[in-house]
Structure formats: C-alpha cells, structure tokens
C-alpha cells in the first residue's frame, strides 16, 4: 500500500492532486497548506505505514558477502540484472590522461573501418606517437620532441607511458607506416597536461588587496617556510591508511609501461 503511494509521490504532482490523495487517505488537509506541506504530510503517512507493518526480514546477501543458502522461505530477491557491458563502442577515439608527473595513460577505441584498415596488407607498422607540444600551436611538425612506440592496437586497448618532463603538455597520436615507409596519422588524442613536481622558477609574485581591490605585482621573495617534500614511494595522504588496511602499498608494479 505505502509502496504504491511512495511511487505515486515520485511524480511531478499538482497541489490539487496531492490534496485529493491526502483527503482520500483520511488525512486532515488545511487550506493554507503549500505543496511541500502536503507532500510532507503524505511522506509522514508513508513512514507511519512502514513502521506499523510487521517486520519481514528478508535475507539478502550483497555482492561482498558470500551467498549462503538461506532457510528463510520468505526470501524474495529481485531478479538478477544483466550487467554485461560492451568492450568497445566502435568509435575512433584516443584518450590521454595524466597519472602523475612521470606517467601518462592512453586508451583507444576504433571504428570497424579503421580496425580493418589496420589489418590491411599495405601497412607495415602501427605506432603510438607522443608529441611534446608544451606552449606551442602544434601544426603536425613543430613539436619540441616526438616519441614513438610500435604497438598492437588491436591486441591491446591501453598503454602506460613513462614520459620525461613533468609539467609538459603531450599529445598522443596513433598512426601507421605504409609499405613505402610513409607515416600516416590515424587518430589524435586530447591535450594532456602533466602535473608538475617542483617549485616554480617564476621571478614574480602577484598579490590582491581585497579591501582596495588592487593588484600588486612584485619580484618573487621565495617561500618563507621551509618545505620538506615527499618523494614518490612514500605514503602521502595518511588518511587512506586508515580507510583500508593495505592502502599505501600501492606500487608502480602495475604501471609497467608495457601496455596490459
């Protein structure tokens, strides 16, 4: 009974509809009540209805607890839902994501057309290129540096890459060499800005006077407080230590740089 009412209440209802329902249930509705008031009235009714219902403890085991045969006959589990998800969306896509100052991650997805192109006989080699285009308008040839790795783009779907410069802006590209040795780009990634890992070398300092609404620019005076930096491998975010017993043991073992 209350379940139906709860469902019904989920809709966008007019005050008239709400009031009519409340009256139907024998609740006292006053003229000056707002829509929210009537809603609350009905919600309280549901709550009371729930409390007065005899308790029927259904047995349920969640995903993390081992399923055990229950002797409880009243068990009514919702039917198991199919949660099979696709492993590709058949779209051409190369995505770059920063992991930390030294490591970046790529994943890609391919359309059927490009997947079959890659299999074709006039391709001699498929590569993942990474361009360092920090602070430049990239035109395809003017990168500061270009890195290249031969990869099996159909066999694997992602790649962890160790990159040389923290704070740099990298762009990924999947391309191939044809039988004549010509390089042909296929997919380009988003721009990936790597985190920095050292204090700024800037020689200026900017300040804002909030009372006078004035900006002040002056030569940098450096940091007054001594800083003890932590290095990768140590446990930062000590909080996580308490969230879980084995946090902090995360290592680079999985970031092999060798794809899967």
């Amino acid at each position: 009974m209350w379940k139906e009412l709860q469902e019904w209440l989920k809709q966008d209802l007019t005050i008239q509809e709400l009031k009519a329902k409340a009256k139907e249930l024998g609740l006292s509705v006053r003229k000056q009540m707002t829509k929210a008031d009537v809603r609350r009235l009905l919600e309280r009714y549901i709550e009371r209805a729930k409390l007065s219902e005899p308790e029927s403890v259904e047995s349920i085991s969640s995903a993390t607890s081992q399923m055990q045969e229950s002797t409880d006959q009243s068990q009514q589990l919702p039917p198991k839902e199919d949660i099979t998800i696709p492993d590709s969306y058949k779209k051409d896509k190369l995505v770059a994501m920063p992991i930390n100052p030294q490591w970046m991650y790529f994943y890609w997805d391919l359309s059927d057309a490009n997947a079959s192109l890659i299999k074709s006989s006039n391709i001699s080699k498929v590569v993942l290129r990474v361009y360092d285009i920090t602070y430049i308008e990239f035109n395809g040839t003017n990168a500061h540096r270009t890195f290249e790795i031969g990869i099996d783009v159909l066999g694997i779907r992602n790649y962890y890459l160790n990159v040389p410069v923290p704070g740099a802006h990298y762009l990924g590209e999947i391309g191939y060499y044809d039988v004549d040795g010509r390089y042909i780009p296929l997919l380009r990634s988003n721009l990936c800005m790597m985190p920095t890992s050292s204090p700024s070398q800037s020689t200026r300092e900017r300040w804002l006077d909030l009372r006078k609404h004035r900006r002040i620019v002056m030569p940098a005076s450096g940091m007054l407080t001594p800083v003890i930096e932590r290095v990768a491998g140590s446990v930062q975010g000590l909080e996580s230590l308490f969230r879980t017993s084995n946090a902090g043991s995360f290592s680079f073992a999985r970031l092999s740089g060798k794809g899967m």
Binding site: I83, P195, L210, S240
Partner: protein, 533 residues
C-alpha cells in the same frame, strides 16, 4: 596581539548506497555505522560544547550523496530498525557480561546508554534527519558546512568535458541548497583533486573557496610566500586553502599518531565475530555472514599483541587519554604557530588540518572526544584561535594570486589511486556516457514529453552515480571490489539501456519506474546541465 589560526576540516562522505528493494543490504551498513560512530558523536560534541558555552569552530563538507542518504526516509527507517536491534543486543550483553568480567560489564552498560542516547538524538531531537542537527549548528555559527562535487566524481578525469564538470558542480550546489536552505560558500573537491583551470568552473557556481593538498601550493605557478599557511586566490578569484602536512602527521602517523595508543579501542575485535553463532545470528547480516555490530570490549593493548590476546577496554581510561592527546595536539599547534608568526613577522599563520570525517569515531573511536577536548582547550589558548574557512574568507585582506598545481591527497599525491591497472577499464565507459548524455541533451533540448524527460533525467542519475570516485578507489584498495565493480557496471548498463530506449522510441515505462526507484538520488536531476559545454 596576533594569534595563529587553526582550521579543522572534516570531509564527511560515503558513496550513495541505497537498495530500497532489499530490507537489509550489507553495504548500507557503511552509512549506519558512520551515523552511530561519527556523525551523531560530532553532533553530540556540539551539544556538549553549546551546553558549556564553549565556542567551537569547525569546517565540514557533507557530500551530496551523503546528504541524500541522510534525508532518505527509507534509509532512516532502516537505520532506526538497526539501532533498535543494537539496543536489544546491548541489553542482552548487559545481562551476560555480569557473569563474565566487571570491565566488560561496565562497557556493556556504557554501550546500552550510548545507543539509547543515539536513538534519542536521531529520533526525538532531529526527527530522523540528522542534517537538521548540522543545520542547527551551522546557523548557530559553530560549523561551516561546505559541499562537494555531486557524486564525488574525480574531476581531473573530466578535464576534456566541461559539461561533465559543470554537471558535477551544478548538482552539488542544487543538492546542498535543497537540504540546507542556502547556497554553499565553499567546496571540498573530491579526493582534494585539482587541476589548473578548475577554478574557472568553481567561480561560475559562486563557490568562494576550495582545498588542495600541500604540494598544490608548493608547486603552484608562482612560489607561495607563506607556504601552505595562508590561503591564496586563483586568477578566477576563488580562495584555495592548502593542507598542513604536520597536523596530519601528528594525528595519523602510524608511528607517532594518537589513534594507535594502547589504551584506545581496538577496531578489529567486535562481538559480531566473537560471540557464538546462534546467539549473535539475529544481529549480523541476515544471510548469516558475521559483521561488525559496534560493540567492542577490547583495547589496542599494543600493536604487537595478537587480536586474541587483547586486554579489556575501559572507556574512562580512554577518555583521559583523549584529553591528554588533545592537550598535546594544542601544544604542538601553539608552538608551530609561534614559530610561523616569527618568520611571518607578525602576520597570522593559518594552519589547515583536513581529515576524513569517518576516521573520527568510526576508525578512531575516541576521535570525536579528542575533537571536543581540543575545542575546549583551544578556547582558552592565548596563542591560537580556531576558525572556519568562511571566517577566513570574510576577514582576509591581502592575498597572493596563484594557480595551484595539479594534485590530490591520494597516495603519492596525484591521480594514480584512481587510474591504475585495477580500474583503468572504467574510463572508456565514463567518457562515452558523457558524450552520449551530451548528444541527447542537444537532441532533446526542447523536449516536452514528460516520459522522455524522465528517461533523460534518469540517464543523468546513472551517469553521476557511475562517476563516483569511490568505485575506482575501492578497486585499487582491493576491499569490497566485487561491489564496486558491480555498481560501476550496473550504472553503465542502466545508462546504455535508457539510451537505447530513447533512441528506439520504445520506452519501457515499467523499467524506467524501476530504475527511478532503485537509483533514487537527486530528484531534481536535469539533463540540460549537459548543454553547458
């Protein structure tokens, strides 16, 4: 005379776990344990401090999913039932321990009265919605409650989708306003994760301040003159506070931290595991799997002591220790600010100490008591003043302009907890969902058919729920992995099904209704958020 300032920040968050189709669900206990052990004890602290007229200042983020769960009548009802069972068990324990051991017996009586008081606060004082309590102490000036992005999504991984970031922020602001009655002033970014440029979006939603980890300022685009001990302002006029590494170390370090004291309560000894099966059966997971009950009779004793060799816990002893630790922490903070005042030539340093709220009480049982003692002691300090983030935002007159560096408070300080071999597979789907959501928002921008609008808005809920950083985190830590994997896949699948329904024009109303019922977060979700590219 200038005094140092300290800002304690508690980040209260749990992923949205509500399974209305089940009367008992193991993962819903996360919320129930946190209410009993953390959230209500924090409210109790404010009640005690108010009674004694002690001024206290705390900054606390209550995330949108947590607000939604705390205000959910079905979860409130389940929690009340759970607490009633616990009281029933405590009564049995009081009788039983009388024959066992005097310290145990004393603790059984203590638990009974604690749980009864908890029920009283929950039901009678705050009418089952403890957000009423937090609202009360916000309006009385004790807490600055800030928001967090909608489902604790990891924003650096949405960088290429401004509309996804905006949806996380817009839903956050809306949800906060719906529950608290006012707009939020500040935000805790999920996992403290920031990337340069994010401040622009925060400014769009009138958020005045956020928090970064220490290296967010250390490695900023210009050197922060006062290190992490003064907030900065970004080029888009949002204040950024940075975490003081010393405070976290003092409280949490495995070697020198307070929670490891031998006289504190041992987390891993619970009667849910210790009592004989037939006796405890009605108070654990109905499937028969043993779970924590919250009744624990042992103290840490020493780190080397095996679990079965622990001594009995006495709450009065632990109480004294918490007081001692609070005094010690205050002394350390006083000497820290004294040192900083000196090198800052009289400018007041602001020490920011953020923690996961659930560490206080849930993990460190005496944590809320420690906080209370700290507030009491600090109220009399000549060297230190406790402040909230909003106080600093109101007072500060001159501030350095900086763009903080990309950073998070996760292990090693960057993104690797949320992107590694255990969880990298999720991003193909999360990004695809954002793209499809955006396409649909554009296609149905003028949609009038209420049924289609419902499908679109339910797609928003599935997308936002899939984006919770908690799932990736859990996969990394390898605890409750199945649940996290299933939740991620479930929301992806439900989203794709809804997408197909809309595309084919074949809307299964029954299925839509079911999804609205099982994924019932954000009644005000609006697909048009994804038009904001």
């Amino acid at each position: 005379m200038p005094r140092g300032q300290i800002m304690l920040v508690l980040h209260a968050h749990l992923p949205y776990v509500h399974h209305p189709e089940y009367t008992f669900f193991l993962e819903e206990q996360w919320l129930f344990e946190a209410i009993t052990e953390t959230y209500i004890p924090i409210l109790r602290m404010f009640r005690n401090l108010e009674k004694d007229k002690v001024p206290a200042k705390l900054t606390m983020s209550i995330t949108p999913p947590l607000m939604e769960m705390l205000a959910n009548t079905d979860l409130q009802y389940k929690y009340e039932k759970r607490l009633e069972k616990l009281i029933e068990l405590s009564k049995k324990e009081v009788q039983r321990t009388e024959r066992e051991n005097p310290t145990k017996h004393k603790m059984a009586q203590y638990y009974l009265s604690e749980f009864e008081d908890t029920l009283y606060i929950f039901k009678d004082v705050y009418q089952r919605n403890i957000l009423n309590g937090f609202k009360e102490y916000m309006s009385k000036g004790y807490i600055d409650i800030i928001t967090c992005n909608a489902t604790h999504g990891y924003l650096p991984f949405m960088e290429q989708y401004p509309q996804a970031i905006r949806a996380q922020l817009e839903q956050a602001v809306k949800t906060y306003e719906r529950h608290m009655g006012v707009k939020p002033r500040g935000i805790w970014l999920a996992e403290c994760a920031y990337f340069p440029g994010l401040d622009k979006y925060l400014a769009e939603y009138s958020l005045e301040y956020f928090f970064v980890d220490s290296h967010g300022l250390w490695y900023a685009d210009e050197r922060p003159k006062y290190g992490v001990y003064r907030p900065v302002i970004t080029p888009n006029n949002v204040f950024a506070f940075a975490r003081d590494p010393e405070s976290s170390e003092q409280v949490w370090s495995a070697q020198i931290g307070y929670p490891g004291d031998s006289r504190y309560r041992e987390f891993y000894r619970d009667i849910g595991f210790d009592r004989e099966y037939d006796y405890i059966r009605p108070y654990i997971d109905p499937s028969g799997v043993r779970t924590n009950t919250g009744i624990k009779y042992h103290k840490i004793t020493s780190k080397e002591t095996p679990l079965d060799g622990k001594d009995f816990y006495d709450v009065d002893d632990a109480n004294g220790v918490a007081h001692e630790h609070a005094r010690d922490f205050l002394r350390k903070k006083e000497s820290q600010v004294e040192y900083l005042l000196n090198i800052f030539e009289g400018l007041e340093p602001i020490v920011v100490a953020p923690f996961d709220a659930e560490l206080f009480g849930h993990w460190w049982y005496e944590g809320p008591l420690f906080l209370e003692y700290f507030m009491r002691e600090a109220a009399n300090s000549q060297k230190l003043r406790v402040v909230r983030a909003c106080d600093v935002a109101d007072w500060i007159e001159k501030v350095q302009i900086l763009t903080p560096a990309a950073s998070s408070w996760g292990a090693n300080g960057y993104n690797e907890v949320w992107l590694n071999g255990t969880n990298d597979w999720i991003y193909l789907h999360l990004h695809e969902m954002v793209e499809r959501m955006t396409d649909m928002a554009k296609r149905y921008v003028e949609e009038k058919d209420p049924l289609k609008v419902r499908v679109l808005n339910q797609m928003v809920r599935e997308l936002l729920l899939a984006q919770s950083s908690d799932w990736a985190f859990i996969m990394t830590t390898r605890t409750s992995v199945d649940y996290a994997v299933n939740r991620t896949k479930t929301h992806i699948k439900r989203f794709l099904d809804l997408y197909d329904m809309l595309n084919s024009g074949n809307i299964d109303v029954g299925e839509l209704q079911r999804l609205e019922y099982v994924d019932d977060i954000f009644p005000d979700a609006d697909y048009k958020m994804y038009l904001k590219i």
